[in-house]
Subunit: 250 residues, 2 copies
């Protein structure tokens, strides 16, 4: 049985303030919890008896059997699940030299949790091990972000850092998409680099733009046609990552 205070604590993790205070984040649902469990320390595992007996391999500091009603009360989802896990946020070390020879993504103030989650998922698909987020990027541990990573959070390291400082310290190419950029299909794409992803409404900020060493453009079709003014940030990122990876296969 869950106490009122336990339910309150679980609910509080919907908010960034309480995630920061406790150093914890929440994940709901069988698939997400079992995907994340091998990668993060599990503080609380709150689940139905049935779920717990089927998943005795999932370890936690505290296991709390709960009824479906209690899970529904604690849940942040409209369709509550059989399990809620509270994981400890990991602490990753970062050194600019880690980016050498690799492709890395960087968020310049991405605000939508679903976009960030989708980007983490596609980074995982394309073997991008690290994402640098400007400190004003939406919180990685927002439950909507965690949910939309579909478990990729377990394999991609996300760092919150002063982005401009990081870019100044690295000696590797910095890419970004701009409407006046170079056609990406006619451009050299290097094996190492940082791809900047801009804010949903405002794109890449002027300060970060000055640090971009190569501006890219994703050509629309047919070229020159009147069209949407831009692509969603996760969409643009996926098209660019796919093209970087296609070139490396040759």
């Amino acid at each position: 049985m869950l106490s009122k205070n336990q339910i309150k604590f679980i609910q509080s993790l919907q908010q960034k303030k309480y995630r920061n205070e406790s150093g914890c984040f929440i994940a709901e649902g069988n698939k997400l919890v079992t995907d994340l469990a091998p990668a993060f320390d599990c503080e609380w595992l709150v689940a139905t008896d049935d779920w717990l007996s089927a998943h005795s391999d999932v370890k936690a500091n505290l296991i709390l059997p709960a009824s479906k009603d209690e899970l529904a009360k604690a849940s942040g989802l409209t369709t509550p699940q059989d399990v809620i896990a509270i994981f400890k946020k990991p602490e990753y070390q970062f050194s600019p030299s880690d980016l050498k020879g690799k492709l890395t993504l960087a968020s310049d103030h991405i605000q939508d949790p679903g976009n960030l989650g989708t980007i983490i998922r596609l980074a995982d698909w394309f073997g991008i091990e690290q994402i640098i987020c400007s400190t004003d990027t939406v919180d990685l541990y927002n439950p909507k972000t965690v949910q939309s990573t579909m478990g990729a959070l377990a394999r991609v390291k996300v760092h919150y850092l002063p982005l401009a400082e990081v870019l100044k310290q690295t000696q590797i190419p910095v890419f970004g998409t701009f409407l006046d950029g170079e056609d990406m299909y006619n451009t050299d794409l290097t094996e190492e680099g940082i791809i900047i992803m801009g804010n949903e409404g405002n794109g890449i900020s002027p300060e970060i733009e000055t640090l971009v060493t190569k501006k890219l453009y994703i050509p629309n079709f047919p070229e020159g046609r009147e069209t949407s003014e831009s692509l969603n940030v996760a969409i643009a990122t996926s098209i660019i990552c796919a093209e970087f990876r296609r070139r490396m296969r040759k």
Copy 2:
């Protein structure tokens, strides 16, 4: 001034039932309304006096000046805007022969309004003029879908049709992404074709799968690495569309 019943009517358009009854849909915010206004008949234009005097070129059957408070009451957004428009849903004719020689997208039960909207936006970017949606696809006129098309709705025709029937009637290639598909970079991609996009949880349904003439796979990187099991449907669609269009440029 808006009457209670007018506010009620505007609010009712958040629901599919009332959109179907009235044949109308709602769009909020300056950019969206001005993008859609040239393409659709505007029934009601509900806006502040300031907005109306700055946009006297936007025509509507009924213009309703409203206070910010009234707009906030009628709005479906958390941050209400200066203008709400009620547009008539267009009626498009469809004939399978329209798909000849062209690239078309088809939704097999996409459920997330944001995904459908993002897909309409990228279709517009890549010059894809038509999207066929299975009748169980999320409603195009869901306000969240309309919002996330960012105006592309004005340029892409979306048809709700029995998808299997349409595929049986056309003689053109049908593509879909599958984990056991052929590496898309080593596959002939034709100028004409229908790209099937599957449901978020279940992928492409067994019935539609039998109608796919070429199964594609978006290679992950490095190949064979353990990774996320799949990409978000809008992400996968964008990578495939970009590759089809890249080939056509050669």
